[in-house]
């Protein structure tokens, strides 16, 4: 079965298959009747819609139950622009696509503030609101009577560049547009932009920790996804010639979601299969039409439990997110030899100036002071351990410095500049990177893909260049992939580079996260209990990474309970207890310090000041 999946995957990835399918579809209308041509056109529209929701929900993880709203905006916009404003059809379609993208971008501003079921509710509200507007704003939309007489092949009044378009021409146009969108989308998903969407889906905080702005990524995901939905809507308007609100109900949104889920979210081939299935079933199977709602309901109920990866998952290997050409080139070592890219020019050897300085930092949660006036300084090329009993404020310190919490008082200075109050992705972009107590990675990515994610900020290719897969994009991909191989070698991950993350044991995941942080090329790296749960061999790999950074004059802050590990590697130690510093100095001094002993062994003595 697995061998079969591999064969299918290789076939699906092959350009010859895509070309063959395209040719078959192109000539099919010559051998069939008008009804089938219409049906094929609907398949194309549904493929576009399913890909649209796939990009937003399957790739970027933002659930949408209101996609019919965007479909409607595209449809009505193009219909009105051509019918009332008299624009030619191509201009109408392009403008309608742009308008829908703008609507999606605008919706992302409130929608980006909420997650999960709140987002499901908000998009439901949006979809229903659009439907209400279509129904009630009769002066513009025609209300329940709808808009008729939209230029279309059915009405024989669609003329493009002086050329009268019939149903077969229209299908050909739609086929080319759909193929183009699929190609662009495949390229986009296999670029750092697409991988950033997956990172947002897995964990916004982790994505921020390597410099990906969750807000920006979501706005982009909404705008691109809704542009595709708007494009589908515009083509729908000119396919059928009549628009009424009943084509854009909440059930339409559900139907689009069903197609993508059944086909397989997060892949390109899945939503295509789903769209084909759910265009043909109601058309060809009378019985299906009667049970349509029940079938949709059942699918939504069981699909997530039984076949999480949908039809695509059943027939093919999971999709990969690095262009195959780049991978192959790097594997054969033909990638352009490149000097190591240093995003942040390395500071000179220890000048005595700290890279990161924390001054009198406090963080209160209600009445609880998790941090109470802590100060510390991290110098280049030095490894500082931050230790203390559970609840002493170590992780809070890392969270405040990395911008996840705002400090209640005090300052965080990075290279002399106050950075407190900046967002976590801005702080990461400045060069302060952290890892988490529980590794936060993209479970559906391989180790290599996760590690490459760390280089997000070093990628310079624009979204358009990535979607077109210009040669410069592939060159950049190869260069950074070579660096990822280096980072994996340092962290001892080379042997598991192609393994899916969620199939790996805990220790490897931890090291993957550390390697991802290394890839971000930080000036300051903060590791939150990186040794927890690691084997002896894995501890060696971790020590390797830390020494690698030290040798490059970076600062490392290490939160750790594993004293032997800390003992071997650190230069300075800071001990916290109840949010205050109780010791600062070297390891030997710490072991003899009475305050530290008291904090750890809990001697019943008077409160230390």
């Amino acid at each position: 079965m697995n061998a079969l999946r591999q064969v299918v995957s290789r076939l699906l990835g092959h350009p010859a298959l895509a070309l063959a399918v395209l040719l078959v579809l192109w000539f099919w209308p010559g051998f069939t009747d008008r009804g089938t041509v219409q049906l094929l056109s609907f398949v194309m529209l549904n493929v576009l819609l399913a890909q649209s929701i796939n990009l937003l929900t399957g790739v970027a993880g933002q659930i949408s139950l209101g996609h019919a709203g965007f479909f409607a905006i595209g449809a009505y916009a193009s219909a009105l622009l051509t019918k009332s404003a008299g624009l030619p059809m191509p201009a109408g379609v392009l403008l309608a696509t742009a308008i829908t993208a703008l609507a999606g971008w605008l919706l992302a501003i409130p929608a980006g503030r909420v997650k999960e079921f709140y987002l499901a509710m908000m998009t439901t509200g949006f979809g229903l609101l659009c439907y209400e507007v279509l129904k009630e704003w009769a002066d513009v939309t025609g209300g329940v009577m709808g808009l008729s007489g939209v230029a279309s092949p059915t009405l024989r009044n669609l003329v493009v560049l002086g050329w009268k378009i019939n149903a077969v021409d229209y299908f050909h146009l739609l086929l080319l547009v759909t193929a183009l969108v699929l190609w662009l989308m495949r390229n986009f998903v296999q670029s750092h932009h697409g991988r950033a969407f997956f990172a947002i889906q897995a964990s916004e905080i982790a994505a921020g920790s390597i410099g990906i702005s969750p807000g920006q990524a979501k706005r982009r995901a909404y705008a691109i996804s809704t542009a595709i939905a708007g494009l589908a809507g515009a083509f729908y308007a000119h396919l059928v010639g009549y628009l009424g609100p009943d084509s854009f109900t909440i059930m339409r949104s559900v139907e689009v979601l069903v197609m993508a889920i059944v086909g397989g979210m997060g892949t390109i081939v899945g939503p295509i299969l789903g769209a084909i299935l759910f265009t043909y079933l109601p058309e060809k199977l009378q019985a299906f039409a009667a049970y349509q709602f029940m079938v949709y309901g059942l699918i939504l109920m069981v699909m997530f439990l039984l076949f999480r990866r949908g039809m695509a998952g059943a027939i093919a290997e999971p999709a990969r997110f690095i262009p195959a050409q780049a991978l192959k080139a790097v594997a054969m070592n033909t990638a352009p030899a490149s000097p190591r890219i240093d995003a942040h020019p390395a500071p000179l050897a220890d000048t005595g100036q700290p890279l990161l300085e924390v001054r009198d930092l406090s963080k209160r949660f209600g009445g609880l002071a998790a941090l109470d006036g802590v100060s510390l300084a991290l110098r280049p090329g030095r490894i500082t351990a931050l230790i203390g009993p559970n609840g002493s404020g170590k992780s809070t310190l890392v969270n405040v410095v990395s911008g996840i919490y705002t400090p209640s008082a005090g300052q965080v200075l990075f290279r002399g500049q106050d950075i407190s109050g900046q967002t976590h992705h801005e702080i990461a972009a400045a060069g302060i990177v952290r890892t988490f107590q529980d590794p936060r990675l993209v479970p559906s990515f391989t180790v290599r893909e996760n590690v490459l994610l760390g280089a997000h900020l070093q990628f310079r290719s624009s979204m358009l260049a990535s979607a077109l897969r210009l040669p410069s994009v592939l060159r950049e991909e190869k260069t950074l992939l070579t660096l990822a191989e280096e980072a994996m070698a340092v962290a001892g991950l080379t042997g598991v580079a192609d393994q899916l993350l969620d199939a790996l044991p805990y220790g490897y995941r931890r090291l993957t996260e550390v390697a991802r942080a290394l890839m971000a090329d930080p000036l300051v790296l903060m590791l939150d209990e990186p040794a927890a749960g690691l084997s002896e061999a894995e501890l060696g790999c971790l020590a390797n990474v830390i020494r690698h950074l030290k040798a490059r004059h970076k600062s490392v802050l290490l939160i750790e309970h594993h004293m032997d590990f800390v003992n071997d590697i650190v230069d300075d130690v800071v001990v916290l207890d109840s949010g205050r510093e109780i010791y600062r100095g070297d390891m030997q001094g710490m072991r003899r310090n009475p305050a530290v002993i008291e904090a750890y062994l809990g001697l019943q003595q008077a409160h230390h000041a």
Partner: protein
Amino acid sequence: MGFAAGLILGGISVGSVYALIALGLNLTFLTTRTLNFGQGSLMMLGAVAAVLFAGLGMGLYAGLLAGVVLAGLVAGLTEAIAIRPIARIGGSMGWVVTTLGVGIFLQGFVAKYFGSQALAFPSFLFSPRDHISVAGVRLSAQYLVIFAIALALVIAFELFLKRTAWGRALQAVAMDPDLASVMGIPVRKVVTLSFIGSGVLAGIAGMLVAQITGTVDSAFGFNLLIFGFVAAVLGGIGNTWGALLGGVFLGVAEKLVGGYISTAAEQGIAFALLMIALAVRPEGLLGEKEIVKV
């Protein structure tokens, strides 16, 4: 003056039904941090079943009772098939989709086997023509009774939560299910009962709405569910008094917009309110902000 007062009182009455829907949503949110996206279909199911059972000659009130019981049972079943198995999948995408699936299935089932035509819903409280005059304003008796029922249920629910052993158990599960389980609270049973309770509330709310509109059909319910969401979100999800406050606020806003601006905008305003409330203050008027743990 009389016009405005009529609108406001009508709004309070409709809003109190929204509050009941919100209360049902709150109940499952408290125990499992999930909201049943099929709740709208439960309202529909309760009301349709009541009409059908009553038609079988078992009497109107027995029919109503049977409808409420059925809604409760289906809600309990929903937990078992659409929420419990999905718990291992992190995040909320799983249960949003599965509970939505249950709702759509029920809608399709009723449409297929009982027709998608609207069924007339019998008047059981007061006929729509009964009126009471208060200070010169003619008030629909039905509206007053509905408001009274909703208020009574909200108060009863709050007393249940605060004063009874099961209510305290429910609060304990809401706080921390693992800890509650360690302390010997039958978490499983509390969760199931919370869903049954939620279904019962949905059934009652469905019948009260059907009472106002006079008919029910299979598509009835989805918009109501959204109004319930709006009420719950406005008041703060999980908060009983918040549900009442949010529901009444929504009902009054809807009626005032309908009366003074345009009846066409009456529904739209609820959806717009939902989006604004979620964007501006997702924790609601009476809710507390959840602290993000890292």
